[in-house]
């Protein structure tokens, strides 16, 4: 198992390398540069800036230096927009915030979505199922930028239960976490329902019924593991999606997370930051997918990891 995890993580490295290469080159090919401003700066100033950030070197040289720096010292270079900050510093400040938001949101999404989906499957075609699935449909179709202002309006500005924005105490967590979690919870509910329905209709659940087991035991012991597999395999990309989607939530709730740099760094032509962010998101996506693979092993004994 440990060998598998190590091997799985090692396969990430070449992919990550490719991602980094692509992003590094692509951002530089896009028109415009990091030091363009509305007010033209003198050519000497521009040249000095280009020299400072090595932009006058050929891309291959820039790339080699960047890669050597990243591998040997873990340095991703200075931000080209925030000259007094390094990329690793910016990521180090914001990634934990996004991760905290993302992990809580995922936890809440699973805690809400999975039981709802199971309920829908167990009480298939009853009013409970209909209500649960209607709620899920609503959750999927209502985008976060609509949901968030509604939540703020009701819970912060009308009821005064929770703060409107910022990132201070656990109370500041509630609304953004719910907002990030609900669409995902809705999706999980649908996945869980479909997965559970498939399992509930399966032969081995019929066997379990024929044994005289109660409905509760059948669901918890026999159906749940298999029924949750689609949910588990969704959690990997789902978590990455949550981090990317947190862009909206972070903006609306003014949370100092990494989401803002995702789009902003590209628009600012902050080459170093863009490459750093791509590395982090790519790495996170791949690690969470690897985590899903490992989780699969725990859930489904038929999965052979060490093939």
């Amino acid at each position: 198992m440990l060998a598998f995890i190590v091997r799985r993580l090692l396969t990430i490295i070449p992919t990550l390398f490719l991602v980094a290469t692509f992003v590094f080159v692509l951002v530089r090919l896009a028109p415009g540069g990091p030091f363009d401003t509305e007010r033209e700066v003198p050519a000497e100033v521009k040249a000095a800036l280009d020299a400072k950030f090595r932009l006058s070197d050929p891309i291959s040289v820039q790339y080699k230096d960047w890669l050597v720096g990243a591998v040997t010292t873990g340095s991703l270079g200075p931000s080209m927009k925030y000259h007094n900050r390094t990329v690793e510093e910016l990521i180090g400040m914001t990634l934990p915030v996004s991760m905290e938001l993302g992990l809580w949101a995922m936890l809440v999404a699973v805690a809400i979505g999975a039981p709802l989906g199971v309920l829908g499957a167990v009480r298939q075609n009853t009013w409970k199922d209909s209500v649960a699935m209607a709620a899920a449909m609503l959750g999927i179709s209502v985008p976060r930028f609509v949901l968030a202002p509604l939540l703020v309006l009701v819970f912060a500005l009308k009821l005064y239960w929770l703060p409107v924005a910022r990132w201070e105490s656990w109370r500041h967590l509630v609304l953004p976490v719910i907002c990030a979690a609900l669409p995902m919870a809705a999706y999980i509910a649908r996945l869980a329902r479909a997965g559970m329905l498939e399992v509930i209709r399966s032969d081995f659940v019929r066997t379990a019924r024929a044994k005289g087991l109660s409905e509760r035991v059948i669901i918890t012991r026999h159906a749940l593991k298999g029924g949750m597999l689609p949910v588990v395999s969704f959690l990997g990309p789902g978590f990455a999606g949550l981090l990317v989607g947190s862009l909206v939530v972070e903006k609306i709730f003014d949370i100092p997370g990494m989401g803002r740099y995702l789009v902003e760094s590209v628009l600012n032509k902050d080459y170093n930051l863009t490459a750093g962010i791509a590395l982090v998101y790519g790495g996170l996506l791949m690690v969470s997918n690897a985590a899903v693979d490992v989780a699969y092993k725990f859930l489904d004994p038929r999965v052979e990891l060490d093939r």
Binding site: P34, T37, P42, P78, N84, A165, F253, P256
Partner: protein
């Protein structure tokens, strides 16, 4: 020719925390300027220590006294001096140090400090080349003169607390330019160690930065908040009623309004406006503050491409726009329709001049010839060869007129305005307009490459004087992307800025503006306005046209609900106006 400016500027540079010993023993020996410097091997790299002062001899670290100063050498690419030092420990060790290596007490040799102004050369008129007649000056010091010989800068340190600036000609707005961020005093001794390390930007980090304002940084969570406290060294330290300030860095307007609404913000801040959709509602509120802002929103024409190379076409496009409609229906934030370039509330005597003109009903730019005038616009377009015919079904159609492309950077506000203008040009002139929106940096590149026809830009005043706008129309200005130039305009500007008499000067500026209004290289749309929300318990908030709200003028009134009939309009303590001390 240089003449002495009638405006004397005395600006205080804050003293260092403690005057270091040994400073008085440093003297610049002009007679010894040549010769000895050649012995030096100077190291200006990352290593803080001077590795070899004299050939083959390293200078050990420790405390030193300066015993003499020697002639000019080059260090970090600039001229500086080196100093003979002797160790304080009595060992008799001697060495030499270049001036650029001497820092404040933080780095060894700790006792030494060399203030930069010892090395600033005084202005020598003899070395000054005559100013070129070609009127292309951009600032108040000729750029050509600056480039050829940095020593001609008419800036002197008179004494430790006085900076003397000599201007080429009477420059009434010089005070205002000094209130711009670029001329704030900074600490050399803080900056230089970072420059030496090759990290010239790092001194601005909260752990390093030293500021001289009424408030200093307490804590800085990057792009989240800046906490400030009273600066104990500030001269008005004990008069500041607000002791701590939290500046929240809020990304979205809606969040900041929510924070304001929930009471977490007392003041929405001066960085940006309120979102236009909310303005009609917010405008009715007592805590809504709005004021004109020194800026002009305009479209720039590429005057080198057809059909925009024809002044009649440009003028027609200008006159076909009902700008009052744009500010009332689209921007909705108290902006004012612009028929000319300089905001009428501009300082430097401009606003007074405009008021006087208006009183005499002699404001040229209020006449129909320069205001919204679709008939005249159609006539001009016809003269340019694009006859405007009225089709009973489709409205106006400019025959033979190619479609115009309007470029703007991606933003909801710019788009709304562009769509409205597209409709106006279609309705009044029958000119088809294609909208093209590009992400900011892409747009800048295309504009630089002259790959545009009409592009959205604007200008925010750097200082409170018409000159800041006029500069952007000079042929050599990098901010003139239109390809348009006019010698008549430039000589008017050249004359105007050298004219000491304000009324005369403003008259010339207005004449120059008329050229702009006649030739329309840029199409002014509106004069900016800024708006914000301030809680009623925040007192001492005064809007100004620079939109610089100084916290040290403000205070919090705990029982603000109680009517105070005798409350002064200004804070009880009078603080100096910005820019003056």
């Amino acid at each position: 020719m240089l003449t002495r400016s009638p405006v004397g500027v005395k600006t205080t540079i804050p003293p260092f925390p403690e005057a270091p010993k040994g400073l008085e023993s440093i003297a610049y020996d002009a007679a010894n300027e040549k010769g000895t410097g050649e012995n030096l091997q100077l190291f200006t790299g990352a290593d803080k220590q001077v590795r070899a002062a004299e050939p083959g001899q390293a200078l050990p670290s420790g405390d030193y006294d300066v015993v003499g100063a020697r002639g000019a050498v080059s260090c970090n690419g600039e001229k500086t001096y080196y100093f003979e030092v002797v160790a304080r420990d009595g060992s008799g060790r001697r060495g030499v140090l270049p001036g650029c290596m001497l820092g404040p007490s933080s780095t060894p040799p700790s006792a030494l400090l060399v203030a930069k102004w010892d090395a600033v050369p005084t202005f020598d008129a003899k070395r000054r080349v005559d100013p070129p007649e070609d009127p292309q000056a951009l600032g108040f010091v000729d750029a050509g003169a600056l480039g050829s010989d940095p020593s001609v800068v008419g800036v002197r340190v008179v004494d430790e607390r006085t900076l003397e600036i000599e201007a080429e000609f009477p420059t009434p707005y010089i005070l205002d330019t000094l209130s711009h961020a670029t001329s704030y005093p900074v600490r050399r001794d803080i900056i230089e160690p970072f420059e030496a390390k090759g990290e010239p930007d790092m001194w601005t980090r909260p752990e390093s930065i030293v500021t001289n304002g009424p408030y200093e940084i307490d804590a800085w969570k990057f792009r989240y908040e800046i906490r400030m406290r009273r600066n104990p060294h500030h001269r008005h330290h004990d008069k500041l009623k607000i002791h701590n300030i939290v500046w929240m860095c809020v990304e979205s307007y809606v969040s900041s309004m929510n924070l304001y609404k929930s009471g977490e913000l007392d003041y929405i801040g001066d960085n940006g406006s309120l979102p236009p959709p909310y303005k009609p509602v917010l405008r009715e509120r007592k805590d809504y503050k709005a004021a004109p802002y020194l800026g002009t929103y305009w479209y720039e024409f590429n005057t080198k491409v057809k059909p925009l190379d024809d002044v009649r076409v440009r003028k027609a496009l200008n006159l076909a726009l009902d700008k009052a409609q744009l500010t009332e229906k689209v921007t909705r934030g108290g902006e004012r329709a612009a028929t000319h370039v300089v905001p009428p509330f501009m300082g430097g005597g401009y606003s007074e001049h405009v008021e006087a003109l208006k009183a005499k009903d002699a404001d040229l730019f209020a006449t129909p010839e320069y205001s919204f005038n679709p008939e005249l616009a159609r006539e001009l377009l016809g003269q340019a060869g694009y006859k405007v015919v009225l089709d009973p079904k489709d409205g106006y159609r400019a025959e033979g007129m190619p479609a115009i492309e309007l470029l703007y950077n991606t933003s909801e506000g710019h788009r709304a305005l562009a769509v409205a203008i597209q409709a106006m040009w279609k309705n009044h002139l029958g000119v088809a307009v294609q909208l093209r929106n590009e992400e900011w940096h892409v747009m800048l590149k295309n504009v630089r490459d002259r790959n545009f026809q009409v592009v959205r830009f604007g200008w925010i005043a750097d200082y409170d004087h018409p000159q800041t706008f006029m500069d952007t129309f000079m042929a050599k200005s990098p901010n003139n992307r239109t390809g348009w130039s006019s010698t008549a305009f430039e000589s008017l500007i050249h004359k105007a800025r050298r004219t000491a008499d304000t009324t005369e000067s403003m008259k010339l500026y207005r004449e120059a503006e008329k050229i702009l209004a006649d030739e329309v290289p840029k199409l002014p749309l509106y004069f900016y306005a800024k708006s914000t929300l301030v809680k009623p318990h925040v007192k001492g908030f005064f809007f100004n046209r620079r939109n610089e709200q100084l916290v040290h003028w403000m205070w919090i009134d705990e029982d603000w609900k109680v009517e105070k009939p005798n409350e002064p309009a200004f804070p009880p303590e009078t603080f100096p106006a910005p820019g003056a001390f």
